[in-house]
């Protein structure tokens, strides 16, 4: 799961970069960049961190 979290986080960055070619309009780019940012944050907070929390020292 940790690897999946990392991949999702990186994917968010790539989505944001591709906003430059997906749309020529500022608002279109804004939406795509925000999606990319949300994907990256989701990868860290929603996937990667919970994967590490499973084995957290306080659970032992």
């Amino acid at each position: 799961m940790a690897i999946a979290g990392l991949i999702i986080t990186l994917l968010g960055f790539l989505i944001s970069v591709f906003s430059l070619s997906v749309s020529a309009s500022t608002s279109g780019r804004l939406v795509v960049v925000l999606i990319g940012l949300a994907v990256s944050l989701g990868g860290i907070i929603g996937v990667l961190n919970p994967a590490y929390m499973k084995n957290a020292i306080w659970r032992k």
Binding site: T9, S19, L20, S21, T26, L30, L48, A56, W58
Partner: protein
């Protein structure tokens, strides 16, 4: 003929400064009653002969001393290149140019010295917020990160970051750093890293401009590195810290810094894709603080919380630091150093709009004030007491947030940015601790990560379009303007910067530290952690005459 040519050179030298700094004068409406205006008289021509007729102070007068300073620093002090010709207009013009660059060199160096002193502030804050049993270890990390980071940056990092920056007008327009590796993406050049200036050498020689730039950029880089030591404090293996910091100083920080400040792809989002003035980060909310804070988050997740930070049900427990006095003293040192961080980022005090240093400095202090107020009031209202350490973190949060916009916003915008930062740091600390369950002893992820991102975004909102640094920014004519002042494209450029920080820098830092974890191990043993890191890791206690209590895990 020669005199005329020299005069032209002199006029050309002075003209750009006048354009850069003079406020725009609105054209007066023609008045019917006004008499016809006579054509302006041609400017008086200055010849070498005029200069030769000028005399310095009388030698006899100098013998009586110069109590009011009026006899020191006169035409007698302008160096003459050819004694046979005497003083010429060329000599005067060269002296003007040299004076401009001298002012800017001294300004950049002195502000760099101030930023270097911030290392002491970070050391005080982090050590004060840790327990007595880890004080030597925490202080040593803050001490050695200076040397480790500098070595990595001198060997590799500086060239990656600034090797392709090109000429910097305020520092003499030297062309020696102009080798950027770029790929073509979406039909546009994407600068990825610099390729000049390894070991600060160029074609077997070196350049005074490179030295000034290195000193200033090096202390910025070290600031980013020292942020991480706070989050991983009290459980980070010292050897892993050394390796991790070296790689961050050599690659992680310089890569993003190149993209933002070294002529890389984020800086060219304006020229290449019409997004405002490209990613604009005046002094490094993103480049320095968010890179540090996000790397700290990566390490905080990987290394896990300290023993005793959370109960078995996941409820966070407070582990108070050992010296609140030194924490707040450290915050003041940092606030002082920030007057180097932000105003110094003009890279000069003369020419190309650099007189805005006054505005930058005031914006910095206002945002810091607003940040400390925001955090103190939030804690007072929510928990009934004006928490001291969070007030200190509020001050730092305000300063972090204003770092990127300090050169582009007005005082009202600065206070709003700082106030939001002060509240944001409290909310973020709660989120990181209670929701993510990441243990961050000093709140570095919230102070530098969350507020670094907020600072980057705030440029895209609050930049008022009134700054003017030589007529353009990142190669785009005009002034950086945010959404509230009419340019939504700037906000998009800023958000792409944020996405790069969250998506790329986090992933890169995580993978690097994962490899270090596999090779060296990131975390000390439970026994070492319970005993305190000072003796097992460093071989000496910070306070040998203190009785260190370790009866409970939270002690």
């Amino acid at each position: 003929m020669k005199t005329t040519r020299l005069l032209l050179v002199l006029i050309l030298c002075l003209t750009p400064f006048a354009f850069a700094q003079a406020p725009a004068v609105p054209a007066a409406a023609p008045s019917a009653a006004a008499p016809p205006v006579a054509p302006a008289a041609a400017p008086a021509m200055i010849a070498d002969q005029d200069i030769k007729s000028l005399a310095g102070p009388d030698a006899k007068a100098r013998e009586n001393g110069d109590p009011d300073g009026s006899l020191t620093g006169t035409i007698s002090d302008v160096p003459v290149t050819d004694a046979n010709k005497g003083l010429t207009i060329g000599d005067m013009a060269n002296q003007i140019g040299q004076n401009k660059i001298a002012i800017n060199f001294v300004w950049t160096l002195v502000t760099g010295f101030l930023v270097m002193f911030m290392q002491a502030g970070f050391a005080a804050v982090e050590t004060g917020l840790c327990r007595v049993k880890n004080a030597n270890h925490t202080m040593m990390m803050n001490f050695m990160v200076y040397g480790v980071g500098m070595l990595a940056y001198w060997l590799i990092g500086f060239a990656i970051q600034m090797g392709g920056v090109g000429a910097v007008a305020n520092l003499g327009n030297s062309p020696v750093l102009s080798h950027e590796f770029a790929i073509t993406l979406f039909g546009k050049p994407f600068g990825l890293w610099g390729q000049g200036g390894y070991f600060l050498m160029h074609a077997g020689s070196y350049d005074v401009f490179v030295m000034v730039l290195f000193l200033f950029q090096m202390v910025f880089m070290d600031t980013a590195l020292t942020i991480v030591t706070g989050t991983a404090a009290e459980r980070w293996k010292y050897a892993a810290f050394m390796v991790s910091s070296f790689i961050m100083g050599a690659f992680t920080y310089p890569l993003f810094a190149n993209w933002a400040w070294g002529g890389g792809w984020l800086a060219t989002l304006g020229t290449g894709f019409g997004l405002g003035h490209g990613y604009a980060d005046f002094a490094g909310s993103g480049v320095v603080h968010a890179v540090g804070g996000i790397t700290a988050l990566a390490l905080g997740i990987m290394i896990g919380p300290r023993i005793g930070k959370f109960t078995r049900t996941g409820k966070p427990l407070a582990i108070p630091g050992h010296d609140l006095l030194i924490v707040l003293l450290g915050c003041f040192i940092l606030a002082f150093g920030w007057f180097g961080f932000n105003p110094g980022s003009t890279l000069g005090a003369s020419g190309n709009g650099a007189l805005r240093i006054g505005s930058v400095a005031v914006n910095t202090m206002l945002a810091g004030m607003a940040g400390s107020f925001g955090a103190m009031l939030y804690m007072w209202i929510r928990y009934g007491k004006p928490d001291a350490s969070m007030s200190g973190n509020g001050l730092l949060a305000g300063l972090v947030a204003i770092t990127a916009p300090s050169g582009f916003v007005n005082p009202v915008g600065s206070v709003i940015i700082g106030l939001i930062a002060g509240v944001l740091v409290c909310l973020s600390v709660e989120f990181v601790e209670k929701v993510m369950k990441v243990d961050d002893p000093v709140g570095a992820v919230s102070v530098h990560g969350a507020n670094g991102l907020w600072g980057v975004i705030s440029v895209g909102l609050f930049a008022d379009g009134k700054s003017n640094y030589g007529g353009s920014w990142n190669g785009v004519n005009g002034n950086v303007t945010g959404l509230f002042y009419g340019d939504p494209g700037q906000l998009v450029a800023q958000l792409i910067g944020c996405a790069t920080l969250v998506g790329f820098v986090f992933t890169f830092s995580f993978v690097v530290n994962l490899i270090i974890d596999a090779l060296v191990g990131q975390r000390v043993s439970a026994e070492t952690e319970l005993a305190g890191l000072d003796l097992p890791e460093m071989g000496a206690l910070c306070y040998p005459e203190f009785e260190v209590k370790t009866q409970s895990v939270g002690a």
